[in-house]
Amino acid sequence: MTYRAEAPDQIIVERLGAIDALYHRRSGTTHLVAAPVPQILEALGEGATDVAGLLARLAARFDLDTPDDEAKAALEQRLAELIDLGLVRGER
C-alpha cells in the first residue's frame, strides 16, 4: 500500500503544550493529536511512499528503538487511523 498525505496547505498544525491541534480545511474538522501522529504527517508530506519508506524517513530523524517489524505494525495502525480521519490516503 502506498500512503499519500493530505496536501500541507489543507492542514494547520498548532502546538498546544504536549499535544497538537490540527485543523483540516477540507473537512472543517479539528483533531487533537499526540506524538507520533504529527511526525508521521510531516514525514509523509515529503511524498507518497509505503510503510518501509516512511519508516526509513522517520528513522533518519528519530532514534527508533523498536524492532522493525513492531515499528511497521504500529505505523500501519496509525496510518489506518489517519486514513479514517481523511488526513492520509492509502493507494493499492
Binding site: 494547520i12 498546544l16 503544550g17 504536549a18 499535544i19 491541534a21 485543523y23 480545511r25 472543517g28 487533537l32
Partner: protein
Amino acid sequence: MRHQLGLAVGPATFRIGSAWRGPIDALARLYAAYPPIDFARRVPDFTVRLQPVQPWRRFIRSSIFIAGDHMLPDAAPMALEHGLLAAEMGMNLQMALGWRRHVLLHASCVEKDGKALVITGESGSGKSTLAAMLGERGWRLMGDEFALLDPASGMVFAFPRLVSLKNEAIDIATAGITPERIGPRLEGTPKGAIRHLVPNAEAIARMAEPAVPRLLLLPRYGFAEAHRPVEQGEAFVRLTEASTNYIALGEAGFGALVRFVRTVPAVALDYPDSATVLAAVEALWGEVA
C-alpha cells in the same frame, strides 16, 4: 404578535413577541435600563415568539411554545406563569444556534481594569452565581451565560442578560440587593426554582465594552478546596465543548481558541462554598493580573 418588545443585550438585538401580555410586562420591567430598539429604524438580529401550542390555547390551559428564527422543534411547551423564563430561554436559543460574529462560549464573565475572567463549567458548577457575586464586589459583570470571543481581536465581548439564579443560589446571590433588581420567583421549572437578577447599572451602561481575556477558570462546586493549572490542550478541548458555534465558525473559531489558550492561563478550581471561591478567585487573579 399581539405584544412585543425590542431589546439590546451586548452586541445582539432581539424582538420578543408574545401572544400574552404577562411575559412582555415582566421583561419590560426587568430590562427597563437596557437600550431600547426602535423597530422602524433597525431590524433586530433575532426574533423570539412566545405563542400558544394551539390558537385556542391562548385562553384555555395556556401553554407557551417557544418559537423564533431558530427553533428546537421538539421543545416541550412551558407553563404561562414561566413566561419570563420562556423568553430568556428563547433568547439564549437564538444566540446558541444563530450567532456567528463571535465564538460563543457557554461561560460567565467578569471584568476588572479592562481584563476579563472567563468562567466555564457544566450546569451546577456555580459559574452564574460566582459571576453574579463578583459583579456586586468590585467587578463588572459581563455575562452569566455567554462570553463572546472575537476572532479578529481576541477580545471578549459582554452579553449581560438577566442573571438566572437557581434554587439555593437564589438567596446567596441576591443577599443585600434591592427588590427592584430581582424578578419574580418561578417555582417548579424544569430546573427547579428560578429567580432573575438584573445586572447593576455599570454592567448595563458598559455592555458594549470588550475586555482582554486574562484568566480562564474551570470551577467545580461541592468539593474540598483545591486548584490546579490546566494545560493548553485540555483548555482547548473544554472550550470547544463549551462553544455552541465552534464548528460553524470553521477556521476562524480554531484560530480564536488557539490564540485564547496560548495567551490565557487556565485553572481548575474545586470549592465547597461561596466564601471559599470568592477568596480563591481574588488570590488567583492577584497572581495573573
